[in-house]
Symmetry: C2
Subunit: 233 residues, 2 copies
DNA sequence: GTCTATAGCTGGATAGAC
DNA sequence: GTCTATCCAGCTATAGAC
């Protein structure tokens, strides 16, 4: 319930990294950060443009609407991530292990998402939070944006995983891929639950550290024995 | 017990399960469903009270505010789930296996969350979606509500898991518990990603089915080899 | 306890001068 | 392309009759 009220001394509010950008890029950078930190629906166009030190009309001029801005932010970030994924996947396939090891495939899928832009001062892990929120959002709009950005690379990885785990039925592999997405998205969302439970000892916002703990966990999970067939599948 | 005769067409809007409830309970039931399906911030008090066929003032009379309604919904659902968890935990401890098997502990933790009220016509899996959304919400308010409801039972389970996995360092166990939460929350959120990728073959909204696939996956994950120590821990 | 009416704002979006 | 002024639909919450 914290609505910011930007008043005098506003330029102090501008983050260093956005100060030298042109208005359009500034709106995009500030929007990414605010949407990630407060949630898309909780951020008003007024608050956003005020923080970016542009007038309200500027947002509509450059992006058409608030939703248009979100799509632009997403388009700019998702493509590099999906490309990095597929590049790492190609490296796996070109490597000495045929088919690529499970561990290599999982890392190729997860590393771009979890560490993208962590050394990028323009907000890599910021985008991770935004993306995670969208991943569980109910609005059809959010799902469309997310699906069109990542469904393709997800399918490619499921196919590769099939070859790395030839004895695992595809249906089971899909379930496990779903669980993988859960661990990834939940870590990216940085909801603060595990910090609260462990008094800050675990920090999922550190992508490298998360990967280090997550990969062995997932490798073992993907290699688990197949459960008894049930009525539902 | 309706004192007034429903007008033609009017009662058709009300879902069957809410028709015989008193206004206060009706607001709560409709609120739970709408918050879960559309998101807390996307539902207006007007739309909610209109769907529940009460006047706007009624919501504020009974719950004080929109946030008050959410807290009431949460209080009503979270307590039974946390209690079911602890009851199943006690059963584990009283069982023949000492300490309880990993599989038993994980099921005791997950089953109440994933299947609670699935045969309950008043919306058990509805609440699961609501809860999952809150779990990744950025607002401090959401985190407070969720933490006060579930942090205690989470800590109790971490302690029990420690005894079931005596060779696993506590820090590592906490990370794996975090990943467990991720798989649980992501399944409950029912974001539709895996349905989209697999053309509907996997259905995480089926709690029993999810459990059947999830438990072996998590058991293996918790038993994975410990990763190399890194600089960060 | 239930309702109507409305207060008091804030929301996204735009018109039109410059 | 940038800005101010403005539209008006929408919001939460409340006052006050019944």
């Amino acid at each position: 319930m914290s609505k910011r009220t930007p008043q005098a001394g506003e330029s102090a509010e501008l983050k260093e990294e956005t100060r030298e950008l042109k208005p359009k890029e500034r709106i995009q950078a500030v929007g990414e950060r605010m949407f990630a930190e407060e949630g898309f629906e909780a951020v008003s166009v007024r608050a956003l443009t005020s923080a970016a030190q542009v007038n309200v009309a500027s947002l509509h001029y450059h992006f058409g609407s608030k939703e248009g801005l979100l799509e632009a932010i997403f388009a700019a970030r998702a493509k590099p991530i999906a490309e990095a994924r597929l590049a790492m996947l190609r490296e796996c396939r070109a490597g000495p292990d045929r088919p690529p090891l499970l561990n290599q495939l999982l890392e190729a899928f997860l590393r771009p998402a979890l560490t993208f832009g962590e050394d990028d001062r323009f907000g890599g892990s910021v985008f991770a939070r935004l993306r995670a929120r969208l991943a569980v959002a109910p609005q059809e709009f959010s799902r469309r944006v997310l699906g069109s950005a990542f469904d393709e690379s997800s399918r490619a990885f499921i196919d590769s995983l099939t070859r790395a785990l030839p004895d695992l039925p595809r249906r089971e592999l899909e379930w496990r891929f779903h669980f993988l997405l859960g661990t990834m998205v939940y870590s990216m969302a940085d909801g603060g639950r595990i910090q609260s439970i462990t008094d800050g000892a675990c920090d999922p916002s550190d992508g490298e550290e998360t990967l280090r703990h997550l990969l062995p966990f997932l490798v073992a999970g993907f290699r688990a024995d197949i459960p008894e067939p049930g009525s539902g599948s």
